[in-house]
Amino acid sequence: MVSCMGSILEVDLTSGEIKKTKVPDEIYYNVLSGKGLGAWYCLKNIPAGADPLGPDNILGITSGALTGTGALFCGRWTVVGKSPLTGGWGDSNCGGMFAPAIKQCGVDAIFFRGVSEKPVYLYMDNRTCELRDASAYWGLDATEAEKRLTEDSQKGKKLPRVAVIGQAGENRSCIAGICNDGGRIAARSGLGGVMGSKRLKAVVLAGSLPIRSAQPERVKELSSVMGRKIKRMLVPPVSGAMLPMVGRMMGLPVSFPMDGAMSGMLLKKWGTPMNQALAVVSGDAPLKNWSGGPKDVPGANKEFNPDKILAMETAKYHCYSCPMGCGGMLDTGKVPGMEYDETHKPEYETMNQFGPLLVNNSLDSIFIINELLNRAGMDTISAGATVAFAIECFEVGILTKADTDGLELTWGNTQAIIALVKKMIAREGFGDVLADGSRIAARRIGKGSERLAMQVGGSELPAHDSKNDGHLVTHYAAEPAPGKHTVAMDLMYNAMSLCDICSWAPPAKLRNKKENLEPTETVALATAANACYTMMMDGAGGCYYGEMMGVHTFKLIEYLNAAAGWGRSGDDYMEIGKRVQTMRQLFNVKQGIDPASVKLPGRALGYPSLRSGPLKGVKAPYAKEQVSLHWKVMGWDGETGVPAPETVEALGINALLEMEVGA
């Protein structure tokens, strides 16, 4: 594939051996790069039963097939491996400026195996590739370590790009992520803990090799049209205070197709915090550990008005090749109790997980927690859900102050929440009980606490209620890395018009949201199509906000054909997505995960149902049937979720697994 470098770097941290190896072109043709390349490599090379925190696990850091070609929205890198959180497939992706740096060093991915005796980091540029002593950086938070590694590694004008773990990763937390750009994080799946278990502090990349594409003029033309469109989008005259009113409209029980391009203007202005004001009243945001309605979080809309955040913004920033720029830096010098003068604009997920999910009405505390967790390199989704779990355990008497190191863990106790986050980062006292996420914490606590842990397959649920978006009933449980909203949702499907690039994707229609909670073939086709498309997007290194803009704005198929010099159809590419998704599921089966045992907690399905708000009384009684139909559309067994042998054969997976990388 012209736009890929055609090689990977394999690093054995036990022996110190490093080798650059060629990848057969058939691999790129069949799985692209990014998550697909990672899925192929890990399925082939991680032995069954490997300890996620042991030497047999492999940690992969991958770039995308479109990254660096000039394609917009394609600056995301992906980390892959066996998740210590779920015991199955793990991946997470992240923006910033790190993704192209991988390819500029001449490889599409770096795979680490083994465990180093002492802390090390990998340094790589056009000529050098070596493991270096990281003792001086071990113990530093991710932001500080990145700063020092950048300064210490920079030779000329070229700024090295760094992916690094903080204290959470060093402490082998199962909810640790990997950070870059001073506060961005590949957070999910606990792969920062895997990196820490290998005593790999960082990856520092300073290459400058060119990245090619087959038809650069066509790539440029596609980017020019898209960039112009986004630049000209104007936000209607709506203030942040008006968003809850819009949210109430979104809470109506209707779902309909829409032009996803329109999402760009809101993200340009506010970034993802705009969703907080919409989500509390629309039913999108889980509240009070998934047990409450808007009435249970009074004042949340006023406190989390995104205009307040906008007023603190000192600079907007864009990830690599992003024309939208939803990121921003905030001046937090006047935030009481804040140790740092600035923080990245918190993402919606962070805001909700540490705000309304905990009945915490303090925006200031969100800034503090955001910076603490970004520096520690801990997933805010999992951390927030785990704190919610602990608070509810305290509220119902499962935990007392004797268990919590004296913390009064009541709903909305801001100071106790901040103190607990610090303990989790340091694995100190009660924080150690929670530092590996809610499922492991519930096992440690016992006393029937499992029912209060809002996790699926070990992965904490994010800030989108599956009762509001029925596709999530399927995705949260059926996704091989469960509990992720980023693989797909009804809203995304409505916005993307996949029916215009895929012959089997049903057109989105105006309908009652409850129809998404029914086990119908239409819903199953939609969930499968969306998941397959997202795998393709991940293989390209694409951003979900680009994806959400729809196939008429983000022309992924045209981009891939231009970059690779191919002339493949949408259906061809969707098959790549199905292949990657099937490989990820096969990885789980190989590692002993029983897909049928991965089930959503009752509250995510309306058991017990909410007593107020837009989701009052809403239930998802057919979750098992929905998942089963999704599996069947994927060509997997409807009862077990195991990919059918004929599907595996038809997708050519066995032949791909027999292929070897070559020196």
């Binding site: 409209m249 209707v254 032009d259 391009a261 999108d284 105006l510």
Partner: protein
């Protein structure tokens, strides 16, 4: 003939559209003509904040094949 993709307000069905939301128009048709054909003459189109390829363009703008007509919507996410 040209084909344009249409997202009606709230996804309301419209007989001018095929199952996948495409509308056929003669070569040279304008944004305004398409809007009127959808039952949204100028004032209604303005209230619905109708956009052509994401932009608030004049209604006399000629349409091209594969253009997208849509109204402003709010999309959650994050």
């Amino acid at each position: 003939m040209i084909r344009v993709k249409v997202f009606t307000p709230f996804g309301l069905p419209n007989k001018k559209l095929d199952e996948r939301g495409w509308m056929e128009l003669p070569e040279g048709a304008t944004f305004g003509k398409a809007a009127a054909g959808l039952g949204m003459p100028g004032p209604v189109a303005k209230i619905c904040m109708l956009r052509l390829n994401g932009e608030a363009l004049p209604f006399n703008t000629p349409l091209k094949d594969s253009d997208v007509i849509s109204c402003v919507v709010f999309i959650r996410g994050g």
